[in-house]
Amino acid sequence: MLLPKFEFHEPETLKEAAAILSGIGEPTSILAGGTDLLVNMKKGKASPRHLVSLGRVRELKKTARDGESLRIGACVTVAELREEREIKDDFDGLFRGAGLLGSPLIRNLATVGGNIVTARPAADLPPPLIAYGATIELVKDNGERILSLEDFIKGPGETSIEPGEILSGIILREPPLYSGGGYVKLGMRKALEISLVNVATFFALDGPSGPIQKARVVLGSVGPTPIRSLRAEEILTGERPDEALFEKAGEAAANDAKPIDDFRASAEYRSEMVKLLTRKALKQAYEEAKLREWRRWK
């Protein structure tokens, strides 16, 4: 399959990229990892006249600590994200999600920002990022804005990004002392798989053994966007973490899911799996909370 013709732009700074974007009057796409866009172009689903590549914009490829926050450049690849010490130590749900995206070959190209702006309902990074309360930075020629990732994704392939805007970074606040996150993905195979259901969790405890102070449960692939299960979060809040509580939260999460029947799985099956995956992801979060505490004492 041949790629349609396009004009290629390769800015070296974010400022330059934003200026190019605002100056082109014709259909334009931003090229980051290319694992989604180039496939869509080959299939004829996208035919931009211009491609603005962010591959040479070095400032988008850095992950840096900024006080109590961690700022991930939008063009950091999924494989690079997994190499970051902070992600390994403090964001286990995100670390797991990044390890389950595509294949090792895809992870070496695909970017964190790309997995967000493409807004696929089954994507692996948005649920854990939302569970950790991520915010994102959008830059354009004449300004920038910051908004929560949860509010950014609007539907399958739809976000609130405006023409000329570039997603430049993802900001994560350092998780509190007694807290942990988890991510469980269900697919038919282990690699190159699109989730049938995925669930990301995060909770912060009041002390080493609870009660739960704040919880987030995010369901992926069972709605047009990742869904926060407010019912599950309510059940968890104020309680001590244990198996029975996680099971109750799983039941509640299934009530918040809005799965559909498709050729990959039935809605009923997906609903059942939400229960199971929520329970497992909550267990992971608890394990991580304990592990992080143990590491502090060591």
């Binding site: 013709k5 299939k43 895809i106 190159l192």
Partner: protein, 156 residues
């Protein structure tokens, strides 16, 4: 409009004028006539177009040649040693890990990249590292056995 690119492939510098819509796999196969790199699905799913781009295995069907400007690339043609076949290639032959051979260049490059980073990988590490490379002949078992059989001392 064509763009000039400079890149190093298997240690040799190349300068070429390419159309922006030329993918790296097509550039390697048609412009440089390095046909060891295969093109299967052209969608980033099969891994037969795997090359090592700046030290990392990637699907070359998902990279534009212009994006590879300034980079260093290794294809299967770059793997052979002064003594002939690379130990991994020998192991693939000896263990029956090659049948039709279409996935072999990608498999071997991905496996070599793993062995460079992890000289004595576990079976699970091998399976994960090769999970982006599909094989429709061998059922994978013989490929895993071939990678496991390579003596790390032999890797150049």
């Amino acid at each position: 409009m064509k763009t000039m690119i400079n890149l190093t492939v298997n240690g040799t510098k190349h300068e070429a004028a390419v159309e922006p819509n030329r993918t790296l796999v097509d550039f390697l196969r048609y412009d440089l006539e390095l046909t060891g790199t295969k093109k299967g699905c052209d969608m980033g799913e099969c891994g037969s177009c795997t090359v090592i781009l700046n030290g990392k295995p990637v699907n070359s069907c998902l990279v534009l040649a212009v994006q590879a400007n300034g980079s260093e690339i290794m294809t299967i043609e770059g793997l052979k040693t002064a003594e002939g076949l690379h130990p991994l290639q020998k192991a693939f032959v000896e263990k029956g890990a090659i049948q039709c051979g279409f996935c072999s260049p990608g498999m071997i490059l991905a496996a070599n990249n793993l062995l460079q980073k992890t000289p004595t990988p576990t079976e699970e590490e091998i399976r994960t590292a090769l999970s982006g490379n599909l094989c429709r002949c061998t059922g994978y078992q013989k490929i895993i056995e071939a990678v496991m059989s390579v003596d790390k001392q032999d890797i150049p």
